[in-house]
């Protein structure tokens, strides 16, 4: 089984420096792309590979790029941004790539930036990722030193300026347009679309924001071709995926596996199944803002379309497992409190609806729940749905709640009936 993304990563050890990375075949893709391919050919290749964005939404990467104005009269400067603001609860896949193989990200960014002919690239890094910041800083300096960044890279005539920006630390900064505002030094409130960042992004100029894992795939696609990339996958979507599991399993962690590996395989073969004394009750397949899946869904393939068909989203592909020793109401309360706290405060339903939701759940946990609370919660899952709020934060927050109300209804009712949390 090929594991292109993680092949250079040795847990617990320093990442490959520039020389070692080059010896492992690094920057060959850069050479190939910049010296032998036009930007359009790079985009075409990525399109053929069926690479879909790994940040959560699964939007086809090449299609995203295709909206960027190209040619001599395109607005300048253009920007490519690596979204490394990995703040989705339960998600730690990008951290592995950032800390484990920073040059791989830089190379991916180079290829992406070349494809859209961006002059400037930023890595927008989560504030808490101190180690990643240190390693990226070193890698960037090495890349500049070796001429992989700066003017006229490898004699191609193409140049790229690359900066590391460490976020101030808000969940909203991970939202594409909130990120752009944050990067401009403004409040991390989302922007209205259209226009999309591809035409009016950072500083009002054409901008692509791609997830770290998405970008890390690019050198391998360039090196090995689209067919190879599609062949890595068990499903329609090309490539491998870094899956993760947290919760009361025997071996929590992350693994690079073929896209479309089933939940059961990830959970049982890689995470080692549930810990002794714990029974599986459900899981959030791709971070906190995805719907619960339960026992009946264990054979669902972890790819974008299959998970969607099962009623949830692949999201980041890093699952949080709920066991029978944990109160589902408490778990959802924890998540809703997080989302309420991370609301930027821009639109009414999110700003005032989420804290109310969290307060109701807290009341349930404290034994102060009332029967009509369940109606209010259900109402909020509807009223805070997609299209009603300014961005996807509140609809995302409603996903675990609405599915918990569906799958764990009896637990909610028990809290109200018994005026207590049965797990306390």
């Amino acid at each position: 089984m090929e594991q292109p993304l993680t092949k250079n990563i040795r847990p617990g050890e320093e990442p490959l420096d520039l020389k070692a990375y080059e010896q492992a075949g690094g920057y060959q893709a850069t050479r190939k792309a910049l010296q032998g391919m036009t930007p359009a050919e790079v985009t075409e290749l990525v399109k053929d590979s069926n690479l879909r964005g790994r940040g959560g939404a699964g939007f086809p990467t090449a299609q995203k790029w295709s909206f960027v104005p190209m040619g001599d009269d395109a607005p300048r400067r253009k920007y490519l941004i690596a979204n490394a603001d990995e703040m989705e609860p339960g998600t730690f896949k990008d951290r592995l790539l950032l800390e484990g193989d920073p040059h791989q990200l830089l190379e991916g960014m180079l290829i992406g930036a070349y494809a859209i002919q961006a002059e400037v690239a930023y890595i927008f890094l989560r504030w808490e990722y101190k180690l990643a910041a240190e390693r990226l800083t070193k890698a960037i300096a090495e890349a500049y030193g070796a001429g992989y960044l700066g003017h006229n890279i490898l004699g191609s005539g193409y140049g790229l300026e690359l900066h590391l920006h460490v976020s101030a630390g808000r969940y909203m900064c991970g939202e594409e347009t909130g990120l752009l505002n944050a990067l401009e030094g403004k409040r991390a409130t989302p922007r209205s679309k259209p226009p999309f960042p591809q035409t009016s992004g950072l500083w009002g100029k054409p901008t692509i924001v791609n997830n770290v894992e998405t970008l890390c795939n690019l050198p391998h696609i360039i090196n090995n071709g689209a067919e190879w990339f599609k062949g890595l996958s068990h499903s329609q979507d090309g490539g491998t995926k870094i899956y993760g599991v947290s919760g009361r399993v025997r071996r929590p962690g992350t693994w690079e596996l073929p896209m479309g590996t089933t939940i059961r395989e990830i959970l049982e073969d890689h995470a080692g199944g549930m810990r002794d004394g714990c029974k599986f009750r459900g899981l959030l397949p791709g971070g906190a803002s995805t719907d619960f899946l339960v026992e009946e869904h264990l054979d669902v393939k972890m790819d974008f379309d299959s998970v969607q068909k099962a009623g949830s989203r692949l999201g980041t592909g890093t699952m949080i497992v709920l066991d029978d020793q944990t109160c589902p109401v408490g778990m959802v309360q924890n998540l809703e409190r997080f989302f309420a706290q991370e609301s930027c405060g821009w639109c009414t339903p999110c700003r005032d609806g989420l804290p109310w939701t969290a307060q109701i759940l807290q009341a349930l946990e404290d034994g102060r729940g009332q029967p009509r609370d369940l109606q209010r919660l259900a109402l909020h899952t509807k009223l805070l749905g997609p299209g009603h709020t300014f961005c996807a934060l509140a609809p995302g927050a409603m996903e675990p709640l609405q599915s918990a109300l569906q799958y764990f209804k009896e637990d909610f009712e028990q809290h109200i009936r018994e005026h207590r949390c049965p797990w306390r």
């Binding site: 922007r191 009414t348 609806g353 109310w356």
Partner: protein, 919 residues
């Protein structure tokens, strides 16, 4: 035009609008908070949700925000859709989660948009059972009260304050349901337009602190359409009165003038009407009746009969009477005085310099090809050259319009990206820091410099030379300016280029520099652009509310009046609403008043001048009488009496009419009401012949009814004076206008010039304005009130000015003293409002640091300044942008003597005891 369907009914709507605008323009009620017609859409509050359908087969539809959805051809929406209604009610419910239940004690109650919208959506029962979040409030200065708990986070305040008005000391802080709108720390809101927060805020988070000091409910305010008297822009206002006290000023929308906003001087400067310095009774000096008397002591209260008898004796003889008019009095008052004394004895009450400059401005506007723009046109200019004016301090709302003008050119970026202009946040993201060309050339740095492309600070003559150089770069007919430094010539080239590239170039200048050359240079630039086929506009500012009206009427200067009296041409002087000590040297005014045998002063305030009068006739302020003012654009606008004052107070023109009667002159007989004196004015001076048409006549009625000044809910009518008399007094008659001092009358919308307040069923807040406009953001129904008196001439040959002043030469031992204008302080009436006085600076003398070094003094040390025998001692303030050899003196600050500027003065380390005037 586009056809859209609302509840399956087709409507023809204008292109390029969003659904909320369209619905409101169609008169359909749709609740909203974050959208504001002047600020555009941002989609934050989610209150205006409607159901949109793909086509006529789509029955499910989806919720969209009306304010964020373009009304394109074929758009199908439902406002009544149950899901949309439920969502809108839920938005109110969420907003109410934290909004306090304090409507009964909230200043906003009764004119609260949040109340209105809550009722409109039908949210009545609060299900939320947890604690509300609370905030600490801030002290924000004398104008604005902060009550953060009431905030519903619509973001309008911060968008207005920062994005629209350019303020920097107010922002939004924190996040989630604890966002905070305020300053980083307690303190006075610095921006000159902060008062608009009161109207921009949809609820009681920001309220008028001056109103709070004498609070009354909106529905208990008697109001009338009015015009601001605190600068030359002529913003339309709605003053409100209760119990004989003026309580507040609200904006009165005029699409061509002030739009939705006012400046803080205009909004909070009203307290002079209630001031202790008000004159409310006739005053007659004790010794005045004896001929050849020495005036001793101030005039004392007396009866009208006694005064009239005295006046008869005074005026019926053959004595020549000199009249001194006023740029802060109405056209009617000035015309009445002019009639009394005859045009040859009517003087404008302004200094020689001001008279000359205003005459120059009028001549340029009359005889040249450049048009003076309305304020709404200013905001549409895409390249601006300001020559000599500190716009923010002289004509504040003009500065606000210029802040919008710099957004015009960059708007092209948004257009290219197909972003509609109303999509405000998106436009700003696309446009970023881009600003259109705005070049500012002034004697010192101004507040508007922050949005300027480039600034140039120089002495007035050098400013004029820059202007001439720009004009010369535009037209070969203008003589070259010799000896201009290369960098100034390069700047002139850039300015000329930017103006040439613009579709709507605008030149802003005025009389603040006291330089005719500056005005002429500005005219040359505008005319040269016109000569190149550009529709260049030329906007002049003048300091007072009726400078231009008075200029159009014509008459000699104050100095000419002094001369006439000293030459024995007259023995009686009638001074109209004018404190001469503000305009001329005290010794000269003293000599003048002493030389006059009889001094009659008509004014509403006790001034140094009234204290020297034999007879003082108490005049009505703008709130107590009707009148017409001509603003800096040349637009004549009518203001109406708001309430009937106590005491002997009446309009100045009515006092003059009594003087005419006392003199047994016939003219006054026909001036029985406002219409008649306006007709007389229109018939006498041709430029004013259109005046009768600017407002409906006094006998105008709608459905046989007058327009009530009091709202239908006006309370306490039978009780408010019961301590005096249990019988309800008869409401006073108003012979001058179709407005009534009553709550009875026509309840619907009157003609635009007569709108006493904005109210519509279900719309109790200022947002009711939408119902009065022909379309949202457009003119008032029937057209915005006011009438332009001056239009550019069709000239065959442009009368360019060809005399270029010589470059400014600093002198060894003298400094050129130029006026420094202060929005708070430089205007005579508003400074009597305690809040304005608090914001006014202490007198100072501004100097370039190099000059300070040369004078061997330090900042804060005192220097003595002496002009024409008037001296004053002032602390030095460093002003690095003032040119060397030029000193700045705050214009018309209380405590400073009346010195006609610019003037040359020696500066010496002071040795007198007191700061301020010495005689």
């Amino acid at each position: 035009m586009a056809t859209i369907f609302i509840e399956q009914r087709p409507y023809e709507v204008k292109d390029g609008q969003n659904l909320l605008q369209v619905c409101l323009s169609l008169g359909i009620n749709l609740p909203y908070f974050c959208w504001h017609p002047a600020l555009g859409s941002v989609g934050a509050c989610r209150q205006c949700a409607v159901k949109q359908f793909r086509d006529d087969k789509d029955t499910r539809g989806r919720l969209v925000m009306a304010c964020m959805t373009p009304a394109t051809n074929g758009t199908r929406i439902s406002i009544d859709d149950p899901e949309a209604r439920e969502f809108r009610a839920s938005v109110i419910e969420w907003l109410m989660v934290n909004h306090p239940h304090d409507c009964p004690v909230c200043d906003e109650g009764g004119e609260c948009h949040l109340q209105d919208m809550t009722v409109m959506t039908g949210h009545t029962y609060r299900e939320f059972r947890f604690k509300k979040r609370t905030y600490r409030n801030q002290y924000l200065g004398p104008f604005i009260n902060h009550e953060m708990n009431r905030c519903i986070q619509c973001y309008r305040c911060v968008r207005f304050y920062r994005d629209y008005a350019g303020g920097r000391d107010f922002d939004v802080f924190a996040a989630h349901n604890h966002v905070y709108f305020g300053r980083s720390e307690d303190g006075v809101l610095e921006n000159e337009f902060s008062g608009n927060l009161v109207e921009v805020c949809p609820t009681g988070m920001f309220t008028d602190k001056t109103l709070k000091q004498h609070y009354t409910r909106k529905w208990d305010l008697q109001t009338a359409p009015s015009v601001c008297v605190h600068c030359s822009v002529g913003c339309n206002t709605i003053p409100g009165e209760r119990y004989g006290t003026l309580r507040r000023i609200h904006n009165r929308y005029n699409g061509e003038v002030n739009g939705y906003f006012l400046c803080d001087r205009g909004r909070f400067g009203y307290a002079f009407v209630n001031s202790d310095r008000r004159l409310r009774h006739l005053l007659l000096a004790r010794a005045a009746e004896q001929p050849g008397r020495q005036r001793i002591g101030p005039a004392e209260p007396t009866t009208k009969e006694q005064v009239l008898r005295h006046l008869e004796g005074l005026l019926s003889g053959s004595a020549q009477v000199v009249g001194i008019g006023s740029p802060r009095a109405s056209l009617e008052a000035n015309f009445a005085l002019r009639t009394l004394v005859g045009p040859e004895c009517f003087y404008l009450g302004m200094s020689e310099t001001d008279c000359r400059l205003i005459a120059a401005v009028l001549e340029i506007l009359h005889n040249g090809p450049a048009r003076s723009p309305a304020l709404s046109d200013v905001a549409l200019a895409d390249a601006v050259f300001v020559l000599g004016e500190d716009v923010t301090n002289v004509a504040p709302m003009l500065a606000l319009a210029l802040r919008q003008a710099v957004r015009r050119k960059p708007m092209k970026i948004a257009e290219k990206l197909h972003i509609p202009a109303w999509d405000d946040a998106v436009v700003r993201e696309a446009v970023q820091q881009e600003k259109g060309p705005l070049f500012i050339a002034t004697p010192y740095s101004t507040k508007l410099d922050d949005v300027a492309t480039q600034t140039y600070h120089a002495a007035p003559d050098d400013l004029a030379r820059l202007g001439f150089a720009v004009a010369q770069a535009l037209s070969p007919e203008i003589p070259p300016v010799m000896g201009v430094p290369d960098e100034v010539r390069a700047l002139a080239g850039r300015i000329a280029q930017a103006l040439l590239e613009a579709e709507r170039p605008l030149i802003v200048s005025g009389i603040s520099c006291g330089s005719e050359a500056v005005i002429q240079a500005a005219a040359n630039v505008a005319w040269a652009l016109c000569g190149n086929g550009h529709a260049a506009e030329l906007c002049f500012t003048v300091p007072e509310c009726n400078n231009l009206g008075l200029g159009l009427m014509g008459g000699g200067s104050l100095n000419a009046a002094f001369k006439a009296v000293h030459a024995g041409a007259a023995d009686t002087v009638v001074i109209l609403e004018n404190d001469l000590y503000r305009r001329a040297d005290a010794a000269i005014v003293d000599a003048f008043l002493d030389a006059a045998q009889h001094v009659i002063v008509i004014d509403h305030l006790a001034t140094a001048t009234t204290s020297k009068a034999d007879i003082v006739l108490p005049a009505a302020t703008f709130a107590e009488g009707d009148g017409t003012l001509v603003n800096n654009e040349g637009r004549a606008q009518r203001f109406y009496q708001v309430f009937v004052p106590e005491g002997d107070v009446q309009e100045s023109w009515r006092w003059v009419r009594e003087l005419l009667n006392a003199a047994t002159r016939p003219e006054g007989q026909s001036w029985r009401n406002m219409d008649e004196i306006v007709a007389a004015l229109a018939g006498t001076i041709p430029i004013f012949q259109g005046l009768p048409e600017i407002a409906p006549p006094a006998d105008f009625r709608v459905a046989g009814q007058k327009i009530p000044r009091q709202p239908a809910r006006y309370s306490g009518r039978t009780a408010m004076w019961a301590q005096r008399n249990v019988h309800e007094p008869q409401p006073p008659e108003d012979a001058d206008s179709p407005l009534a001092f009553s709550m009875e009358g026509y309840p619907g919308q009157p003609p635009a010039a007569l709108i006493p307040r904005f109210w519509a069923p279900g719309w109790n807040s200022v947002q009711a304005l939408n119902k009065f406009q022909s379309e949202v953001g457009g003119p008032l129904r029937g057209g915005d009130p006011g009438r332009r008196l001056i239009e550019p001439a069709a000239v065959e040959r442009v009368p360019y000015f060809v005399t270029v002043p010589r470059a400014f030469q600093p002198r060894d031992d003298e400094w050129l003293i130029v006026p420094l204008y202060h929005i708070f302080g430089s205007e005579e009436l508003s400074i009597l409002a305690p809040g304005i006085a608090e914001r006014a600076p202490q007198p100072y003398l501004g100097l370039n640091p190099d000059d300070v070094t040369r004078l061997q003094v330090h900042e804060g040390d005192e220097l003595e300044l002496r002009v024409d025998g008037t001296a004053c001692r002032l602390p030095v303030k460093l002003m690095p942008t003032l040119p060397v050899g030029v000193a700045g003196l705050p214009a018309s600050l209380p405590g400073l003597p009346g010195i006609a500027l610019p003037a040359w003065s020696k500066l010496r380390p002071g040795n007198a005891d007191t700061v301020g005037a010495k005689r």
